[in-house]
Symmetry: C2
Subunit: 339 residues, 2 copies
């Protein structure tokens, strides 16, 4: 209910997913029953695999996260997370208020064993493929061990969902050399280096799209700024191009001939194509779709959810983190308490 | 000498600047005399306004900044900064090792009265104009008062050099609301709010290019990641577009017709067009050009230097910072010592 376009794209995307992915046993649409039915009734769907669950309240985009979770107990967002908590659903997806979804997931689902701070992970396009970046906004005051754990969680995700055999993990910094960075990244560098994952060192903004790494690790503040700035750069680049191409008849004719190229680029750089961000580290699968997600983006986000469930991403995260923490504690017994 | 392409673009750009800007009284080319003359002799130039100053060493891109300044005393970089220190030149410009240039400027020129940490400022294109962003990499562990001072320095620069009448200053954060941010930005927000500059609040990555602000304030780590990531996004967008446009004959024909549009976009998004970054807060004018700066970028960077000298940017920064710190100390006498 809380996405920018209300239930329309959510219901349409969910029905497309249900049709395409037979492995979905049942899909619950949570929100104001009447509004959901108004959308649902116009669409062909497999009624035997859909349930509408009524929730009377809506969390708005400007509601304060923790307050929204505490006060609006009957919101679609809260009720949907409750279903995962009670084991009635395997995964929850929302295009609503990001902060409220993360708060609801952390408060209700709690974290996986070994996870101190969950992180929000999203996929970016690279030169010929894609890469994962986390955290893009859940943990604003990250500590070094959180970044190390993001490396481990990202590694599991890249291996299981993105299909990388031996994912290369990079730490976002301001230079590739080991001694370049701030206090947080310098310490995180050492922890990542000491872990068992394939840590390839620092990665700079310049090399983000060069396929040098499969997973980029950063704190939630930097990751959020990065995500939004890159999206803005691509959007303005496209806007400037459009303006330039409509400046005269010759250019307009050229643009018409080359139309297919612009369509491809739009698809490649459209955040919608990448579905949604996954909140890694909570005890359940929780996917955040873009507030302006189209039906197709919702469909893609549901695919992420089903992949994460099928590949048992959380079970593997627990196991990998356990091994990492054991190794770390064995190497530095004195700092075990703080880690 | 230390730029990626050696003295060629520097000498060519400098001679173009000398020709275009009659307000330059004398231009010193510092470096290996023989190599500079080899470039200079092939170019038409006003010999009465050019001097070659010999320096036998070169700071490489991988030299450690402080070590390079201490050990390579006869490098072109060190000697050029020395000339500003001794009052023989008003400004220094280098496309060499960024860290070494900043270190040389801080060690030799020292900071302006009232400046704790200088910041590197650079200009970005916006929808229809441009905006300033600082710090993009000088001060990696910034404190809140540094960000406030960047606001003040950026305000002076935007007013004097970018021609904004009443520059709007924004603080880079992860949401527009006052309570969104990390510890650093939350405190900096209050300091900026209490200052006399036209502080308009937080700005998100999404809105960077939307002309909501004229100056974006951030810490050196985030600013450096942002600068490089935005450049990388634009570069890859252009690369993908080029690949798509050469995929078949129809698209190639279209691209040929619309050639002017691509040329315009390239110019608009080319970092070269924006000349260089200015190191604000040191006692002298110090400009960092891109390592891969073309002759035209060097020419543009020299224009920034002459503008900064003519508009007495540093004198105004001293005055504005003095007023800001007085106001801050009057408001919070208890914290005066720490600010």
């Amino acid at each position: 209910m809380g996405g920018d376009f209300g239930p329309q794209p959510v219901v349409a995307g969910a029905m497309a997913a249900l049709h395409l992915y037979p492995d979905i046993e049942r899909l619950y649409l949570v929100g104001i029953e009447k509004e959901i039915h108004a959308q649902l009734d116009g669409l062909p769907h497999d009624a035997g695999r859909v349930s509408v669950v009524h929730a009377s309240e809506i969390v708005g985009m400007h509601d304060k996260p923790v307050e929204a979770v505490r006060r609006k107990k009957d919101s679609s967002l809260s009720r949907a997370v409750d279903m995962v908590k009670k084991g009635e659903a395997d995964a929850v997806l929302s295009p609503g208020n990001t902060g409220a979804l993360l708060a609801a997931a952390q408060i209700k689902l709690r974290t996986l064993p070994g996870v101190e701070r969950p992180g929000l992970a999203t996929v970016f396009p690279s030169q010929n493929g894609r890469f994962l970046i986390l955290d893009v906004g859940a943990n604003i005051e990250a500590r070094p061990q959180h970044l190390r754990d993001y490396g481990v969680m990202g590694e599991v995700y890249a291996r299981q969902i993105l299909g990388c055999r031996s994912p290369r993990i990079g730490l976002l910094s301001i230079g590739t050399e080991e001694m370049k960075g701030n206090e947080l990244t310098l310490e995180a560098f050492q922890l990542l280096k000491a872990s068992s994952i394939n840590f390839v060192g620092n990665i700079e903004g310049h090399d983000l799209f060069s396929e040098k790494v499969d997973v980029v690790v950063t704190d939630g503040f930097t990751g959020n700024v990065l995500l939004k700035s890159c999206e803005a750069t691509a959007r303005f680049f496209a806007l400037w191009l459009k303006e330039e191409l409509s400046e005269n008849l010759l250019r307009k004719a050229g643009a018409a001939l080359a139309y297919g190229a612009f369509k491809s680029i739009k698809k490649k750089t459209n955040p919608d194509e990448y579905g949604g961000a996954i909140f890694l580290g909570v005890n359940g699968i929780c996917i955040k779709a873009h507030g302006k997600a189209s039906a197709n983006a919702i469909r893609a986000a549901i695919r992420i959810a089903t992949d994460a469930v099928e590949h048992r991403v959380n079970t593997q995260i627990i196991e990998e983190l356990r091994l990492t923490h054991e190794k770390n504690n064995a190497a530095q017994p004195a700092s075990a308490a703080s880690a």
